[in-house]
């Protein structure tokens, strides 16, 4: 079995970036200044991810205002709506309001990711969460709009692939939070996003609930693995999953809802328990939920605990 580790969620902005964005909002700093700082800190994050030996780099997605906003801002047809609580956290997102079937400004979304890194992984909302967290004001039925948003998501994937992105992490907190979705509808949405001639690798990351029910679904959804939030999931639900030996599994084990740094011995025990119960081919260790719930220094310290698991075999 091999273990790998990686950043699978957004990372927090540094105190320097936070101060700059605040000053920009108050008209005391230029947009160019703030953008230059984003670029510099993205490089710092990329370097950190490389130094840890992580399986890929994300750059942290520091400039993104929330998981859904880049898709909203790159569209004609979706506008940012009411400020809405981001699941059970003290963070908020702008609820996307779908006014008409959207079209994509491919150039715009491509400019939102840091280029020039050959191993860049981009985080996008999965189609179920994208649809579920959006408000439909098109006058069309929910299923039609869901399919349309999935097609729009696929357009974004294609545009980013053309820009050099090789891997996509599809975030599906809603699937874990509600704990259910009609199988056929879910597979159909994923077929639209990941099917055909897949331009890239897809991974599905769940959090804010128990996502173990999705683990056996990975091949049918066209994703190479599913990650689960182990702070919201009883361990026996994971170890009791019906998975064929040799499967790849994502372990969300670095919890941004506590500032306590995880004990490496606990992680080691966790890996051994999962290995003994499920005989996986690969275990990918990463955050249990979005790391931007923490300050940068704390997030970095917690993620560094994963270093021994990056690139190991047993």
């Amino acid at each position: 079995m091999s273990t790998r580790a990686a950043v699978t969620t957004f990372l927090p902005r540094s105190e320097e970036v936070i101060a700059a964005t605040r000053e920009w909002e108050r008209g005391r700093r230029s947009r160019e200044d703030v953008d230059a700082l984003y670029a510099r800190w993205t490089q710092t994050v990329l370097q950190f991810e490389r130094e840890q030996g992580f399986a890929w780099c994300t750059g942290g997605h520091l400039a993104w205002q929330d998981l859904l906003r880049p898709l909203v801002e790159s569209s004609d047809g979706i506008v940012p709506g009411a400020l809405t609580r981001w699941f059970e956290t003290n963070s908020f997102y702008r609820r996307p309001v779908v006014e008409k079937l959207p079209s994509l400004d491919a150039g715009k979304i491509s400019r939102m990711v840091p280029s020039a890194d050959p191993d860049l992984t981009v985080i996008l909302p999965g189609p179920w969460t994208f649809t579920g967290l959006s408000e439909n004001r098109t006058g069309q039925g929910e299923s039609a709009v869901a399919r349309s948003l999935a097609r729009y998501l696929r357009e974004a994937v294609d545009a980013l692939s053309r820009a050099g992105v090789k891997r996509f992490l599809l975030h599906e907190p809603l699937l874990a939070y509600t704990g259910e979705a009609p199988e056929d509808e879910l597979r159909e949405l994923y077929r639209v996003v990941t099917g055909g001639r897949p331009p890239s690798e897809f991974l599905l990351w769940t959090y804010f609930g128990n996502g173990t029910w999705l683990l056996p679904e990975a091949p049918k959804l066209g994703v190479s693995l599913v990650g689960v939030d182990l702070s919201e999931t009883p361990l026996q639900d994971l170890t009791g999953s019906a998975l064929p030996p040799g499967s790849s599994i994502g372990l969300g084990c670095i919890d941004p809802r506590t500032s306590l740094t995880e004990d490496p011995k606990d992680l080691d025990r966790l890996v051994k328990d999962v290995e003994a119960a499920l005989h996986p081919g690969t275990l990918l260790l990463g955050p249990a939920a979005p790391m931007d719930l923490l300050p940068w220094d704390t997030a970095r310290e917690k993620l560094a605990v994963l270093r021994p698991f990056a690139g190991g075999t047993s």
Partner: protein, 378 residues
């Protein structure tokens, strides 16, 4: 306490601090922009009095270094109070001008916490978050000086906002109480640790502070629980927190909740028996094509006279609500609650997210709209 009119208007919490106050507190001379803002505020709001006038004159003459930060905060507090009074509100405070913000300020007055850094609330808004690293305690009751100042400087009803125990706990990381839990820190252990943390804050920090405020003369206390709706399964803990905080407190108690799913909170929240008013956000969700006030239906059958503070101003957008929109929203609330005596009028939440100019226009229109609603009901 002065008699209140029907449909009383009230503030909720913080206003944005003026530049002249921020720069003044740093001790240097005021910039030209801050001086211009100061003059503009002096024209709009009569906050120059015998005590503040000498300091304002020093700023004008460019000798600000002699003005101590304490004095700057006092002048700012007077400005915030007069700002709300001049806009025409019936229940007022000082715009929380002395506070850093609603979380950091009480934590600074408590023991057992350590600040770790800023985290994002949304977009480019952040708050400084602390971890609980030891048993919580109160260094000294807080908000007393600011309350006494407001009480001595207004003829209107002062309403003191104070952040509730549940929110203080939810917005902190719970290291100390979680460490006390044995073994793997799964969902069950985390919930038990959180309950202990919340109840300790309620008993050891909030209750003694409320008691001290009442001893100073506070008659209306607003416990802010913006985190109340964060974890729907914890409504009972929010109630326990409120009830523990308010044991033996002889004052009118208000609870402020915002940006939450009220369907998950009510009717459970009604078990907060000492709470006479739920002050809630509605305008944010009142957008074209959707009635943001339909959740008031949750209070239709509450027959114990408890009031609802109805949010009629969206605090996250610069759009200025017209008096007519405010009036419509109030009348919807009156219709739903079936009794105008149960309706108070307020912004959704504190207006510190807006510029002072925008806040001013919004509040003035809120008061005008309330007058229109009173006329319609007369």
């Amino acid at each position: 306490m002065p008699t209140l009119p029907i449909l009383p208007t009230q503030e909720v919490g913080s206003l944005r601090k003026p530049y002249w106050m921020v720069e003044g507190a740093r001790g240097g001379k005021l910039s030209e922009g801050a001086l211009r803002e100061l003059e503009s505020h002096l024209q709009k709001v009569p906050f120059s009095d015998a005590s503040s006038q000498p300091f304002i004159e020093r700023w004008r003459k460019g000798s600000a270094a002699e003005v101590s930060p304490d004095v700057v905060r006092e002048v700012g507090s007077l400005f915030g109070l007069r700002f709300l009074e001049t806009a025409g509100l019936d229940l007022v405070y000082d715009g929380e001008m002395r506070r850093v913000e609603m979380y950091e300020y009480p934590i600074q007055h408590s023991s057992g916490f350590r600040f770790l850094g800023h985290v994002r609330s949304f977009d480019n808004k952040y708050y400084r978050k602390a971890a609980c690293v030891g048993e919580v305690g109160l260094k000294a009751p807080y908000h007393l000086e600011e309350f006494s100042f407001v009480k001595d400087h207004t003829q209107r009803v002062p309403k003191v906002p104070i952040t509730g125990a549940y929110t203080l706990a939810d917005w902190s990381w719970n290291e100390y109480y979680l460490r006390q839990q044995p073994g793997w820190k799964g969902p069950k252990e985390r919930r038990a640790a959180q309950r202990e943390f919340v109840v300790d804050i309620a008993r050891k920090i909030i209750r003694p502070t409320l008691k001290a405020l009442v001893e100073k003369g506070a008659k209306v206390l607003q416990i802010d629980e913006p985190a109340a709706g964060t974890h729907p399964e914890e409504t009972a803990l929010v109630v326990e927190s409120f009830n523990e905080s308010t044991v033996g407190i002889d004052a009118k108690l208000v609870m402020h909740i915002c940006f939450s799913d009220y369907n998950s909170l009510f009717p459970g929240m009604l078990e907060a028996k000492n709470c006479r008013q739920f002050l809630l956000e509605f305008a944010n969700r009142d957008v074209e094509g959707r009635d943001g006030y339909e959740d008031l239906g949750l209070f239709e059958d509450v027959n114990d006279g408890r009031e609802v503070g109805v949010g009629v101003l969206d605090i996250h957008r610069d759009i200025i609500e017209t008096p007519e929109i405010v009036k419509e929203r109030i009348l919807k609330a009156v219709h739903r609650l079936k009794d105008p005596a149960r309706v108070y009028v307020n912004p959704d939440c504190g207006l510190r997210t807006r510029s002072l100019d925008v806040s001013w226009q919004k509040l003035v229109n809120m008061v005008k709209g309330t007058e229109l609603a009173r006329e319609a009901l007369a």
